[in-house]
């Protein structure tokens, strides 16, 4: 009986939002595990594998690759998907994401309600903006995804590959790429996004 009580309080304990230091250490552990398993920590190459599997090698040599060589990476992202399901269904935080009051106030001025209206209790995505019913939401989702996919391949890596692995290996190209992430991110957040939703 004690065991059952302990197990349920453990689940409650894990269900709280995690401290940034715990989260950062856990991501470093993922990097270390992937490295120990002889692979790199990189997610965006899955998109290249999808293109290749769909026959893109016929139009560009860039996609000529052995997709089987990427099965480990696809297994990793399927795991990520399952992890997202587990975290949301069994370890759900008691309250929506607690962003700073300044951000909440600012978002209200551009018409984004946080948290109740958008968050559906978990607060990960502003669903009033990104949904299948609104044409602008569909365009922003596809267009934003397009920029991520294009930029990641052109830069040969995304956040996991450059901001985590690349920086952990002291790679100058990764540092410059991360500076680029911020140039683009700041321009979008401060200048383009208010215009898009305005």
């Amino acid at each position: 009986m004690n065991l059952a009580v302990n197990a349920s309080s453990l689940v409650q304990f894990i269900s709280q939002p995690w401290h940034w230091a715990v989260s950062g250490a856990a991501i470093a552990l993922v990097l270390a595990l992937m490295t120990w398993m002889g692979r790199s920590f990189g997610v965006s190459t899955t998109f290249k594998a999808f293109c290749s599997a769909a026959g893109a090698g016929k139009v560009s040599d860039f996609f000529k690759m052995d997709v089987k060589e990427e099965f480990w990476r696809i297994a990793f992202v399927i795991g990520g998907l399952i992890g997202g399901y587990i975290a949301t269904h069994f370890l759900q935080s008691p309250e929506p994401v607690a962003i700073s009051p300044e951000t909440v106030d600012y978002l209200a001025t551009i018409g984004i309600n946080y948290p109740e209206a958008d968050a559906k209790g978990i607060g990960f995505v502003p669903t009033s903006l990104f949904n299948f019913e609104s044409l602008s939401g569909i365009l922003m989702a596809v267009g934003g995804g397009f920029l991520v996919g294009f930029g990641a391949r052109y830069g040969d890596g995304c956040t996991s590959g450059h901001a985590i692995s690349g920086l952990a290996h002291f790679q100058l190209p990764s540092l410059i790429t991360v500076i680029g992430f911020f140039i683009g991110g700041l321009a979008m957040t401060h200048f383009i996004f208010p215009f898009l939703v305005g």
Binding site: W18, A25, I27, W36, G83, V142, L147, C158, S160, G184
Partner: protein
């Protein structure tokens, strides 16, 4: 069987990304507005501890499960390319509020809109493959 171990690490990664709230569009927006330390704390801790473990693995000449030594294939330095590519990525990251890893995690969390974002990312990757020779590398 080997892929099952990558799947397991992926499950852990997914739980970490969701519980750290790093998958949240709101957290990314807050980060780019410099209104919280949260995301900087996560990335900073991951890089510092990651660098320490990579250093240790190289120092002890640890062999991986595939029998290789720990290393990193360096990219050729091309400042124009890295800045341009990073900026394009950053524009998309701040708009959709998630980078590639979180796209999968959020799909698992029940946000079906991620299917569109993932389709957009795959289309962007395909387009890169078509225009590759016109871009500075």
């Amino acid at each position: 069987m080997k892929n099952l171990s990558f799947l397991t690490v992926g499950v852990f990664f997914g739980i970490v990304m969701a519980k750290s709230e790093a998958v949240s569009w709101f957290r990314i927006h807050e980060m780019f507005r410099f209104e919280s330390f949260h995301m900087y704390g996560i990335i900073g801790t991951a890089v510092v501890l990651g660098a320490a473990s990579m250093w240790l693995m190289k120092k002890t000449k640890m062999t991986t499960l595939r029998g290789t030594l720990v290393g990193y294939n360096p990219m050729n330095l091309n400042i124009k390319r890295h800045l341009l590519a990073g900026t394009i990525f950053g524009l998309g990251w701040a708009l959709v509020g998630c980078c590639p890893g979180p796209m999968y995690v959020l799909l698992g969390s029940g946000y079906t809109i991620m299917l569109l974002i993932l389709a957009g990312a795959t289309l962007g990757t395909f387009t890169y493959g078509l225009v590759i020779k016109y871009l500075p590398h």
